[in-house]
Amino acid sequence: MTAALNHQRQTLSAWIMLSPALILMMVILILPILIAFGLSFTDYGLGVKSVDFVGLENYERIFTRSTFKKMFTATVLYVIVVVPFSVGLGLGAALLIQSVRRGREFYKTIYFLPVMASLLAMAIVWEFMLHPTIGVLNETLQGGCDSAIIHGLLTGSWFGADPLASWYGDQCANGFPLWLGDRDYALWTICFIGIWQSFGFNMVLYLAGLTSVPRDLYHAAEMDGASSAWERFRLITWPMLGPTTVFVVTITVIRSFQVFDTVEAIFPDSGGPGKTAYVMMFAIYEKGIKQNLLGTGAAITVIFLMFVIVVTLIQRWFIDRKTHYT
C-alpha cells in the first residue's frame, strides 16, 4: 500500500469516526445557542400561534424590571459568597489534611461525602434541620440559652459584656431566626448549603495540586530563612498552587452560577422570601418552562452564556500571564 493511499484511507476513516460526535455537537451544543440567541429577540411561546420580533425588549425588561434586578443580586451574591468560602475551605482542609500524620483518608472520605450525595436530597434534609420550630438547629441553639455556661461564653456576659448586645444573647431573648423563611437569612442559608456541598470537591483538587509541589523547595526555602509555616506557604505553596487555584476558582464560579436544586427544592413557588434567592437558573426555569415566556428565558440564557464566556476569558488571561512570566 502506498503512503498516499494509506493517508487517504486514514482521512476517510477519521471523518467517519468523527461524524457522530460532530453531528451531535452541532445539534446539541451549537444549534441551541443559536436558537437561544434568535429567540431572545422574539416573544415566542410553545403552542402560541403568532411569533413577533420584539427587538431588544426582552433584554430591556431584564435590565429594568425589579424581578430581574433581584435575580442579578441573588445570583451575584451567591457566587461571590460561595466561591471564596468553598475555595478557601477546600484549600484549608487540604493543607490541614496534608499536615497531619494520621487520619488523612478518614477526613478526605468524610469531606467528600456531600459531593457524592444528591444535592436535592440534602437540600431537603437541611430544610428540615433549619425548620424554625421543629428543626434541630434552633432547638440546639435554644438549648444553649438555657445552659449558663454556653450562654455566658457565647454572649460574653461572663466577661462583663451586656448579653443583649451580642447576636446570640439577642436571639436568645427574642427568638432565633426563621433561617430559610426570613428574607435577611434565606440567601445566606442557601449559600451555606452550597459551600457545605462543594468544598470537598475543591479539597481533593487542592490535595492533587499539593502532591506536585516538590519537597526540596521547602528545604531550600528553610535554608534561605523562611522558617515559619506562613512564610513557607506564602513563598512556595501558594505560588505553586497557582494553576490549581485558577482552575478551582473557574469551575466553582461556573457551578455556582448554575445553582438550582437547593432553591427549587426549598422555594418551589417563589424563589425565596421576597425573591431574595431568585437565582438565574431558577429564573430560566420559571420564565421559560413554567410561564412559557421562552423569549425572556432565552434572553436570560444568552446573558448567562456571556457570564460563562467572561469567566473563561479571565481564566485564560490568568493562565497566559502565568506562562509568560514563569
Binding site: A93, I97, Y285
Partner: protein, 325 residues
C-alpha cells in the same frame, strides 16, 4: 519541641473533627429521621434510632373505616353486637393490623406511597444508557483525533476544546424547545439525548490515547484489522482505567441530576428519576410524612455513597477528572 508538635497536631485534629462533624450532621439526621416516628421527629426525641414503639398508621386505619354496607357485611363476624359495636370491634382489629414500628412504617411507606423501585430502575436505565452512548460516540472520535492523520484535525480538536466551555444546563431552554418540537418531552429519549455527546469524554480519551504507542496500532493494521476494529479491540482494552474513571464521573453526575429531568419530565411518574421522585414526595408531604420522605432520601443517596466508600480512590479520581481540563 515534642510538646509544641503535639499541641499543633491536636489543634489541627480538633479543627478537622469539627469540620467533619458539620459535614456529617445532615447525613446523620437524614438516617435518624428515617428511623423515627412522626412524634419523635417533631419533638426531637428518641436519640438516633428512636424508641421504635409500635405506632398506628392513621391513614391505613382511615382507609379501612367501613361504611354502612360494609358494616352490614361484617355483622356475621361479630355476632351479638349492634352496628356501632361491629364497627368498633372491626376498627380495633384494623388498628392492630395497621400498627408497626416506625422504621418499618417509614421504609414501607417510601416504597408503597410512590413507585420508588421504578424511580431507581429509571435512574439506572438513564445513567447506564447515557454512559454507553457517550462511549460509543466518544471513543472513535478520540481515536481519530489522537492516532489518525488527516487534514482538519487541529480544527476539530479546537472545536472540542471550545465545546468544553458550554455548560449543558445553561442551554437547557433551547434544548427543551427542540425536544418539544419533535415531541420527545416525557420520554426516556429526552432524559438521555442531550447528554449523548460528552465533549469532555472525547477530550479525556484523546489525552489517554496519545500515550498509547503507535506500534501497537501499526501492528494491528498489519494484521489486517479495520480502523473500527482497532478502536474496539485494541484501544478499548488499554483504556479501561480511564473509562472507569469517566464512568464514575458520568454516573454520579446523571444519577444526581435534578434540573434536566425536572424540565423534560412533566407529569408521567413512570419516567421519574430518583431525585424527581423524592421531590414529588416533598410536594405531597404533610407533617406525618417526614419519616417516609427521609427514608426515600436515604434510599436515593445510599447507592452512590456505598459505592464511594467501597472504591474511594477510584471515585475521587473519577470525580476530579475535571481537574485535568
Amino acid at each position: 519541641m515534642i510538646n509544641a508538635f503535639f499541641l499543633s497536631s491536636t489543634i489541627k485534629h480538633g479543627v478537622l473533627l469539627v469540620g467533619a462533624l458539620i459535614v456529617l450532621v445532615p447525613f446523620y439526621m437524614m438516617v435518624s429521621y428515617s428511623f423515627k416516628s412522626p412524634g419523635e421527629i417533631e419533638r426531637n426525641t428518641g436519640g438516633f434510632f428512636g424508641s421504635q414503639e409500635l405506632m398506628v398508621d392513621e391513614r391505613c386505619v382511615k382507609l379501612q373505616d367501613p361504611n354502612k354496607d360494609e358494616v352490614i357485611a361484617l355483622r356475621p363476624r361479630f355476632p351479638g353486637l349492634d352496628d356501632d359495636g361491629v364497627r368498633k370491634a372491626f376498627m380495633a382489629e384494623v388498628e392492630q393490623d395497621c400498627s408497626m414500628i416506625p422504621v418499618v412504617f417509614n421504609y414501607s411507606k417510601a416504597f408503597s406511597q410512590a413507585p420508588l423501585l421504578r424511580y431507581l430502575l429509571n435512574g439506572v436505565i438513564v445513567t447506564v444508557s447515557i454512559f454507553l452512548i457517550q462511549i460509543v460516540v466518544a471513543l472513535p472520535a478520540a481515536f481519530a483525533l489522537s492516532k489518525l492523520r488527516f487534514w482538519g484535525r487541529e480544527t476539530v480538536f479546537t472545536m472540542v476544546i471550545l465545546g468544553l466551555l458550554i455548560p449543558v444546563h445553561a442551554i437547557a431552554l433551547p434544548l427543551y424547545i427542540m425536544l418539544a418540537k419533535v415531541e420527545l418531552i416525557n420520554t426516556y429519549a429526552a432524559l438521555i439525548v442531550p447528554w449523548t455527546i460528552s465533549v469532555f469524554g472525547i477530550f479525556l480519551m484523546r489525552q489517554f490515547f496519545m500515550t498509547v504507542p503507535d506500534d501497537l496500532i501499526d501492528a494491528a493494521r498489519m494484521d489486517g484489522m479495520s480502523e473500527y476494529a482497532i478502536v474496539w479491540r485494541v484501544m478499548l482494552p488499554t483504556a479501561i482505567p480511564a473509562l472507569l474513571a469517566f464512568a464514575i464521573f458520568s454516573v454520579v453526575a446523571h444519577w444526581n441530576d435534578y434540573f434536566w429531568p425536572r424540565i423534560v419530565i412533566t407529569g408521567d411518574r413512570s419516567l421519574f428519576t430518583p431525585p424527581l421522585g423524592l421531590r414529588e414526595f416533598k410536594g405531597d408531604a404533610d407533617g406525618s410524612f417526614y419519616g417516609p420522605m427521609m427514608a426515600t432520601a436515604t434510599v436515593i443517596v445510599t447507592p452512590l455513597i456505598v459505592a464511594f466508600l467501597l472504591a474511594q480512590k477510584r471515585f475521587i479520581e473519577g470525580i476530579t477528572l475535571t481537574g485535568m481540563k
